[in-house]
């Protein structure tokens, strides 16, 4: 369980994080999104105890990072962005060193190092010098290091950064498996990655949280001004297209209707946009088509991708002047 309560962070005159609050429960993967300078890394660093918040507090499994720092840090597994490691050490030697820092006894260390090497697919490469490993394998060493002490909270900063497609699929599966018994926070700028992996997304911009919810909810909630529906129906000789369009135009909240592409025989496709705050219009659109005698082959609401939502949210923040001050990282 991670509880973040109104944390703020200044770097000199730069107000990097401004009153960020959220709670993360176990068994859930939460994605932290935002452009460069949004305050993601600073927020993550305050959660893992690398920085202390200037105001507010962070509780890790009930332990305050300010007053019980070591106890809080002992409950977090953290994989920083770009996975800094000691290149002159062998992977298993590095993991053993990390296990010592977490106070593990020799027998437990051996067992945990073997377990995480196996779980992260390090195999025989665990005996190689870290400097001689590929970026993907160094990433695995970083992940193994984060899992070493079997922490209840895992914070992964760009976990699939630099991995090839096969490795991405493997890491994604591993993260999903790990999330069953843990609280997980994953920072990423790869939006499809977050959409696929996370149960919840928190979007940050200008040091603030500007959206928080299920990826789908975030998509809908912030895109109420642009709900779109695609309708494909057969007009035939009996259907008056003008009447059909007029019928649809009379449906409350319909803003515009566009014909999409060329006619494909007697089939026609339309894009209907609704106004902000409207209900689901699919029933009304279908009823209008049936009333005019048109046979509907397809009727769907266009799901707004997180990428679209993300750029809209950021455009909104820019319009409010929100991204200016938070764009600095020490």
């Amino acid at each position: 369980m991670i509880i973040v309560e109104a944390i703020e962070k200044y770097f000199g005159n730069v107000h990097a994080v401004r009153g960020v609050s959220f709670e993360l429960a176990p068994g859930q993967i939460t994605g932290l999104l935002g452009p460069n300078g949004a305050g993601k890394t600073t927020t993550i660093r305050m959660i893992v105890g690398y920085y202390m918040p200037d105001r507010g507090r962070v509780l890790i499994e009930g332990k305050d990072t300010r007053t019980a720092g070591a106890a809080a840090r002992a409950r977090v597994g953290y994989m920083p962005e770009s996975t800094p490691l000691y290149s002159e050490m062998r992977a298993e030697e590095y993991l053993d060193y990390r296990a010592r820092l977490f106070g593990m006894k020799r027998a437990l260390r051996r067992q945990r190092v073997a377990t995480v090497c196996d779980r992260c697919g390090l195999g025989k490469l665990a005996t190689r010098r870290i400097g001689a490993l590929s970026k993907g394998y160094r990433q695995r060493v970083g992940l193994a290091s984060a899992l070493l002490h079997d922490p209840p909270v895992l914070v992964l900063d760009e976990p699939t950064n630099g991995l090839d497609p096969t490795q991405i699929v493997e890491v994604r599966a591993l993260v999903r498996e790990l999330s069953k018994e843990r609280t997980m926070l994953v920072s990423s700028h790869i939006l499809p990655e977050v959409e696929r992996l996370c149960d919840r997304v928190i979007v940050m911009s200008g040091g603030r949280v500007c959206a928080d919810g299920h990826p789908w909810e975030v998509g809908r909630g912030s895109a109420t001004d642009s709900q779109e529906y695609v309708v494909e129906c057969r007009l035939g000789d009996q259907v008056n297209e003008a009447l059909l369009l007029e019928r649809w135009a009379r449906v409350p909240f319909v803003q515009s209707i566009e014909r999409r592409g060329e006619n494909r025989g007697e089939w026609a496709s339309y894009l209907i946009k609704s106004k902000a705050g409207g209900p689901d219009l699919r029933e009304a659109i279908a009823a209008g088509a049936v009333h005019c005698g048109a046979l509907v082959r397809e009727l769907r609401r266009v799901e707004v991708s997180l990428e679209v939502v993300f750029s809209r949210l950021l455009a909104g923040e820019d319009a409010r002047g929100g991204t200016g001050e938070g764009a600095a990282k020490p």
Binding site: A74, Y78, P80, E88, M89, L101, G103
Partner: protein, 239 residues
Amino acid sequence: MRTAGTIALRELAGYFRQPAGWIIIALYLLLCGVVFITSVLVPGRAASLRDFFALSGWLLLPVVPAISMRLIADELRSGTIEQLLTSPVSSLSLVVGKYLGGLGFIGAMLIPTIIYPALLFAYSSPSPSVGPMLTGYLCLLLLGSVYLALGLLVSCLTSNATLAFMVTLFAMLGVLFLPMAAEVAPPRLASVLAGFSIGPRVVDFSRGALDTAHLLFFILVSSWLILACAAVMEVRRWR
């Protein structure tokens, strides 16, 4: 503090895994050899390492900054400090571990110099006294300890190892020139500067005098500098 030991061992092993560690040892032994030949191995002179130890402050001058510069600065540059500071290790354990690792390396560097007293014992008649040699080595270790703590503090303040080397070197030079500064300073300041001077203490040690005041001076200054390092690391979290 068990974690300090873990960090110290990793640090010590790290010096021997990289060519830089071996080059530092070679450089120091070369300097020692030059001093031994020119100031000790002089025909007709009494068998004594007094001059050798008296010059020890200067011998450590280029070597200790090279040892201390990477202690924290390298971690800051490479980002591995993030892994250290997010593990349940206190800032004090971290700097003590780093310091002990560096001190262990200085100790390892001094071991081959035992050949010089061994040569004196083997070939000189009458044999040299053991006392000044033991206090001389203790002095080298204590001096190295103060310089290392100073270098560690500088290393905490920058992620640039070269800058850490240069600043430590000039700070050490400043410490060595304190007695000269004391001569020209106003009387009140002169007494303070003289109190912090290292040169006269090194001379006492090389004569074989084990003064507890000198011993305490080296231990307290090193401890104070280590605590300052821990404070700097803690401030990094809260800045």
